[in-house]
Amino acid sequence: MLKRFLYLQQKSFFRGAGVATNVLQKILRGFVWVYFAFVFTGLAFIAFHYPQEELGVDPLVHANGYVLYGFVYWLVMRYFFQKMPLVHTQPLLVLPVSKNSIIRFGLFKTLFSFFNLGNLFFFIPFGVLLIQEDYTVSGVIGWWVSLASIILLTNFLNIMLNSIDRVLFIVASVLIGFFALQYFEVFDLSAYTAPVFMAPYNQPLWALVPVGLLAVSIRWSVQYFKQQLYLDNHEKKSKKEKHRSMELGWLDGFGRLAVFLRNDIRLIMRNKRARMTVWMGFAFVFYGFLFMTDIYSGAVWQIFVGIFVTGGFLFSFGQFVPSWDSSYYPLMMTQNVPYREYLTSKWWLVVVGTLVGMLLGSIYAFFSWETYLAILAGGVYNIGVNAYLVLLSGAYTRTPIDLTSTQKAFGDKKSFNLKTLLLSVPKIALPMFMFYVGVILGGKLLGIGMIAATGIVGFALRNVVFKWIEHIYKNEKHLTLEAYKQKNA
């Protein structure tokens, strides 16, 4: 059976839309793998020698103190970057393929993620070092089996986080709660968990507990997906989601553009995956706080924060124009739809999203005026330059987005993923470089001024740029239509 699934997998990969980008992504991912493999191996040596030689404490005890943070960090990274399994299940349902084997394959695929295997690069060298140092072999194995089980457990937890909103909210609030307790020094959970992680070393049989929990999590996932394989599941869901009539009459002031804006707003409001982009935009605003730490105190990072904080919606929504409309793109192209208005509507959405980000970003003014100035400049740059760039890259992205995929059992549910990130790199790196030049020439304020000025110039050239983008969209039209046909891939 596995052979057959792999056969389909391979065909769909090489025959899907955008093979070249997919292959490129895989290669990039390979480099990331190798990089982290080295980092983890290095970490294992540091985690062993540093506490022993510098602190004079037991490396295993020391490591156990960090295990909890490691898991939480790993889970958060997983949530944002691990791809969910995609299996096109419908044709298989009426064929002699059991539901269990479809699900098993879907879950099996997730195991090959770096998030599940990468930890071996840490644990194997660390374990070998421990054993060389006369730690008991059975203890080290027990310890390792426990931690590996918990890592795999988070794999299944992550699938649930992606599939069921309720689980996401519960887990997120628990994590934020403990984070707050620790931050305000009320209660340090890791002090209590360290001995717990030590237990399977002292008595390897304790490892059976995490293994058992892992088995339970697998069972739950299988049962959950089994329910999801019914075709009318999405009707059940859409029933819960009440039909909201949206006349949006206030948009009429935009004239003919209102037709498009209305449609776009409905697209965002009524489709989960599109709706998530709005939340991403909101979440990005607070992302800047992560950069308040010392590591990012370098001047260049300020403008990075500026672009990032105001650009969440721009990056997660804007970069997938026109893919959002992929399922009815042929319809759009046969209607009286001038590209100019179609694009302007999307541009407005992105601009409004950025403006909201600039407004919300004002909370940073309480911490540092300079940061807020950088955010404002970043916002202006996003509007004046990046808003065009996302539309432009959209013309070439051409990955169809299946808006109903959130309702499928094994579907892509995320609005922010590795692809979004890769596409964002040039849009962030360019202003960082510009800012760097400004700082060298005459200090931070000059750098910020340069960024803002570039944005304003870009904004002023709107008509020229739009004409050019429109031209490109027209040129790419047929290729885009062709690519969007390959939805089932």
């Binding site: 389909l8 096109h88 009426v94 064929l95 002699p96 075709l231 009318d232 390959q486």
Partner: protein, 233 residues
């Protein structure tokens, strides 16, 4: 072959299907007719365990489809293009589903021979992915996919729709041949009263989710059906 008891499907307040009892003996060719929304596809989807019933159950060859997946071994179905695998060529698709039913490549090729006429030279050897075929040709692929592996039960949802007139006639002949020669059980839904009365030996009429007529096909059946749907005007 198929036994249905107290089967119903509700979406919220709305009952889309409510069948007290329906039995389909082995070897029968059953035609299912009814207007849009009568519940034809819902009934098929329930038989194929694609949706879960609100009440009741469907037994296929003695086992309840909602409980075990054994029915998949002796049942083949084609509902719509969603059930094709768009990125395969027609041959790859046939080999794939043939393989799932333990047919070798050679067996699949031999079995396909029977359908060469039906394809009219437009499907096999085209070096095209299924997603790039026309709607009509996709339909042909789906139908042959369901017939190919000689399962005792074949379910086809509106097989005549989207086909050109010649192919409709070919399909009619094909279905009649298969039914009489192999003793397969066929369940066919259709909006084309003439085709369905010609092919099937029993016609069930669904109306607003309920069975309103259930007769063996006779010379008068077509007239009676036309009269029935005329009344609905």
């Amino acid at each position: 072959m198929i036994e249905i008891n107290a089967l119903s499907k509700k979406y919220g307040e709305q009952t889309v299907l409510d069948i007290d009892q329906l039995e389909i003996p082995s070897g029968q060719t059953l035609g299912l007719v009814g207007n849009n929304g009568a519940g034809k596809t819902t009934l098929f989807s329930l038989m194929l365990d694609l949706i879960a019933p609100t009440t009741g159950q469907v037994s296929n060859n003695g086992s309840v489809v909602q409980e075990s997946e054994g029915w998949k071994q002796h049942t083949a179905a084609f509902v719509d293009e969603q059930f094709l695998i768009g990125y395969l060529t027609a041959e790859e698709y046939f080999n794939f589903i043939g393989g799932l039913r333990d047919m070798s490549k050679n067996q699949v090729t031999t079995a396909l021979d029977k359908y060469r006429d039906f394809f009219h030279g437009e499907v096999l050897g085209q070096k095209k992915y299924i997603r790039d075929l026309s709607k009509g040709n996709q339909k042909k692929v789906g139908i042959v996919g369901a017939l190919l592996s000689d399962t005792p039960l074949v379910i086809l949802d509106e097989p005549f729709a989207n086909l050109d007139p010649t192919t409709q006639i070919r399909l009619k002949n094909l279905l009649r041949e298969e039914a009489s020669a192999t003793g397969k059980t066929f369940l066919i839904s259709s909006h084309d009263l003439q085709h369905v009365t010609e092919v099937c030996d029993r016609i069930v009429v669904l109306h607003k989710g309920k069975i309103v007529r259930d007769n063996k096909t006779s010379a008068k059946t077509l007239q009676e059906l036309e009269a029935f749907f005329h009344e609905q005007l």
